[in-house]
Symmetry: D2
Subunit: 134 residues, 4 copies
């Protein structure tokens, strides 16, 4: 599966008094990348929750901040699946300015497939192909 | 019912590049005041949702910003019920620095009692006294 | 000046445990609408801050919540200037689902022109035309 | 230097439609722990920014999510400095329910000392003792 690129624009709300984007907001951008990546894979994360009752509970997240993003900049979030099995999936992210010259941050999130009661479950078979699991 | 005071400290995350608290965060503080107010009234908002399946859906919110709050300041949120009937309740808020000299903001939120399906319901009888409804 | 429409997609981060968008986030969406509106008017809000040292400090905000927005929905934010003079400007907002049939919320924000020290200043002459002030 | 404990209460705003705290908010809690830790060390982070013009720019953050935090729970954030030199400092965090039985998350953030222009600088001498650097 190819990495997927989505684009967003930095909101004023996302900055802090340092004049740059507050560090926790990069994790929100990773979520945006992840959701759009699922659409590119052929399903909606929303439907996985609503129809299959399967949630992607985050068990680990990390981010390296390379260059500060600023208000009103366009940011490209490139998302890929870096590992997946029947129990979990790991996404990798790269955030950069659109010209491609400036990398802002890299990150990763690891998720467990869970039911609505937050108990681990196996990935439903219909998603195996999308996540490259067989 | 007396107004209730709760105190919070401004987080770095709550500031923006103007160097002051981002305006939407005052509504978060109103929620903090509201939740603590309910405790002072003798019940937990959490239990109302979990046990009675009753939610306080916001139908209106407003805030007047008088003086900017800044990082690491202590803020007192004073909350009161300004109107209530079997269908809705209105809270009023005043946010100020602890010395009392400086008023930061005033606000109000109006809520409908709803069930989990977001349909309007009557306030359960057990809350009538707390909200001054009979 | 015509109202300006901008579009955004509801983030998971913007929902709360009620399963709908948390009420303070509508004010963030108003900010997104406002910033894009300024671009449609012919200038960048960012430049007004950076180059002219003029900030639009919020003095009042209000929102009426008509129908709950949900995760992954597209939301159209329609923004217009409803009043403006040399000291302040008021924006009006309407948020709805893209089909136009469902209105989610309406709101307004009133702003004072301020310098970096948060003192009121007059709107720079170069913005008079954009805001319809003469 | 002993680890420092600070306590906060989960806000409704911090939950998402999964019914638990949204994962990016744990980084906000780490910031709360970090700021209070500095006070325990004998200085205010705010003053370091304002008086010395020194910022702690985040270069890396990570979090492991062990058990979901829920609305209105009290959370203890235990913060410590795990590494420090003249250029950077690393904080470690442990978040748990107050009874101590349930660990919610662990995390770490690594920071560069920077000036207001976001350029790396040496830690001012007055902070050496607090961070255990000589």
């Amino acid at each position: 599966m190819q990495p997927h690129q989505t684009r967003l624009r930095v909101r004023y709300a996302e900055t802090d008094q340092m004049g740059v984007v507050y560090y926790a907001n990069y994790l929100v951008w990773m979520e945006v990348g992840r959701v759009e990546y699922c659409k590119a894979l052929g399903f909606r994360y929303k439907d996985m929750e609503l129809e299959d009752g399967v949630l992607l509970a985050v068990v680990e997240a990390q981010c390296r901040y390379l260059y500060p993003a600023r208000f009103d900049e366009d940011v490209v979030v490139e998302t890929r699946v870096t590992a997946a099995n029947l129990r979990m999936v790991t996404f990798g992210y790269e955030m950069r300015l659109p010209d491609g010259a400036r990398k802002l941050a890299t990150g990763a999130t690891k998720h467990l497939f869970c039911n609505r009661g937050m108990k681990p479950v196996r990935m439903p078979a219909k998603y195996w192909a999308a996540f490259g699991v067989k």
